[in-house]
Amino acid sequence: MELGEKMSEKEKKLSQLGVDLSGTKFAGSYIQKNDYIVQLMVKQLLRKNNVILMDLAEAIEKFSWVKSYLWKVLSPEKDKYIREVSEENVHGTLLYVPPRIRISMPIQSCFFISDPDIVQKVHNVIILDKNSEITLNTTCAAVAGEATHLGITEIYLKEGAKLNYVMIHGWSPETLVRPRTGAFVEKNGILNMFYANLKPVRDIQSYPYIILEEKASANTTSILLGIKNSHINIGSKIVLRDKESKGEILSRAIAQDNSKITMPAEIESYTSNTKGHIDCKGLQLSEKSYIESLPILKSYTMGSELTHEATIGKLSEEGLNYLMSKGFDEDEATSLLVRGFIDVGLGNLPIIVRPQIEVALNIIARLAKG
């Protein structure tokens, strides 16, 4: 395996986060360390179905059609991070799934920073053609000192296509992270996004922007653990552009130590017969933590059904006492309650990815401390 000389010590951290370096559990694998690709594996299952998984920089050279998908859902004018990435020819994944191809074995991608002072710039383009379906697991991690990750992801789901997108982040306390994600979901398309942050991070801000056509639906779930001095600002915006589209934004934030977590969430409806729901819950485990929940609903015409619920609280004293009387010490009881707090339904995600998510949620519960 060509994973670089220092990989072994760092391998452990990656596999804790669910990265499978051998690739056996995945139909394909793309691993990028700093700014070079250390693994690109495309199994027979993908090849025989003409699924394309390759380096985006190479894909732009090779296929003229790729250009028509660049910077369409994310404009470089939108912010300086997008612009910075757009000005270079950076690596990243191009994933293309042909019409009607449904692959249940997930694909993994991993972006990983191993050295300080790196600015890792990434551009991913994911295109699912009509009625296709795929699951993508992305893990991002850093084991370096001060470093920056700028990750652009453009998602295009054609009519009836379905993408299950699982992202697990495990940064280091000095990393600055600016993912920028945009998605365009055509008629009857389905986008399920699951995000979890497991480790301390200096500053992360991410706000996927999702546009839904007729009868399309999107669900974004974010589980955010704020440890030490982490600044976390993560949410999403769903635009219900056409009739009968449906969006749901669900966030759970656990703030401990001096961490600050903001959960922005916005659903905007432009036609009738749309449905949107925002559900944001925050749990504070320390005096010095900060949680902010910002749900916004906008309806530009009559006939949309938009709701939100938001709460911020602390662990229930009664629950802690009860669990301690059953033999769990304070930390164990806290972990149990936190595990319950983040036990959001995963019913919309395929069974095959749930074990990895369970592992991530268990890590969060174990690390959570009052």
Partner: protein, 229 residues
């Protein structure tokens, strides 16, 4: 003696709730504590288990002659004392998940029959009926394989069939060698318990009677607690 409580005086928010309580119990024994509402039965079990809010003003709790008076509740649990709450609090944890964690902690893979299977996927005690809560709470105790089981009104609000199930578990615990302190309000459940070794009557935080179970029980069902008050 397995568990010995001597001269235990307990206060809540500076107010004395229990006065100089003396109790002792051995392996495989069942002791029943009777008493009217508010007499301090729950406070007694909770202070034995160190569940707040309570303050031990004086007295001692010995387990196998070891002074455990001021241990934390989880330390007491790990030493083999288990409590079934009168009203367990609703908690946002799936029943099956807590079961799994208790199995891990107490190293067994026992699945208590008394816990209705349809509750496994639900958050524990959230919206449970009275009977469902009692059965589930008692089932969890079985996983702990306790040396001492403190049962706080496991029969209240449970229907007749349910009471038989609860009694079955109590008999089973005793057969496993647990010492059982059973708090009951109206005592109907005792009909289904094979052999009760002793009974106490607690009134206004004082034990006003201790002795033969049947003598006390007959008196309570005919006369209530009036005579002792």
């Amino acid at each position: 003696m397995l568990l010995k409580i001597s001269d235990l005086t307990v206060a809540i928010e500076k107010k004395i709730i229990l006065h100089k309580i003396n109790l002792k119990i051995n392996e495989g024994e069942i002791h029943v504590i009777f008493g009217p509402n508010g007499s301090g039965k729950s406070t007694l079990l909770k202070s034995i288990m160190s569940i707040p809010p309570y303050e031990i003003v004086s007295g001692k709790i010995l387990l196998d002659n070891e002074d455990i008076t001021y241990l934390k509740s989880y330390e007491k649990a790990r030493k083999g004392i288990a409590i079934a709450y009168q009203t367990p609090p609703p908690i946002e944890i799936k029943t099956k998940y807590l079961l799994k964690k208790l199995q891990e902690k107490y190293k067994n893979d026992y699945k208590p029959e008394i816990i209705p299977k349809n509750l496994y996927e639900r958050n524990i005690f959230v919206g449970f009926s009275g009977g469902e809560s009692k059965k589930t709470e008692l089932g969890l105790i079985l996983l702990q394989k306790p040396r001492v089981a403190l049962l706080d009104e496991p029969d209240s609000g449970v229907d007749v069939d349910g009471i038989k199930d609860v009694a079955k578990v109590i008999n089973k615990l005793r057969d496993m060698g647990s010492a059982i302190m059973l708090v009951t309000h109206q005592g109907f459940i005792t009909k289904y318990i094979d052999n009760i070794d002793k009974a106490y009557v607690l009134i206004n935080g004082k034990i006003v009677f201790s002795g033969d179970f049947l003598t006390v029980y007959r008196k309570i069902i005919t006369e209530g607690y009036r005579e002792w008050s």
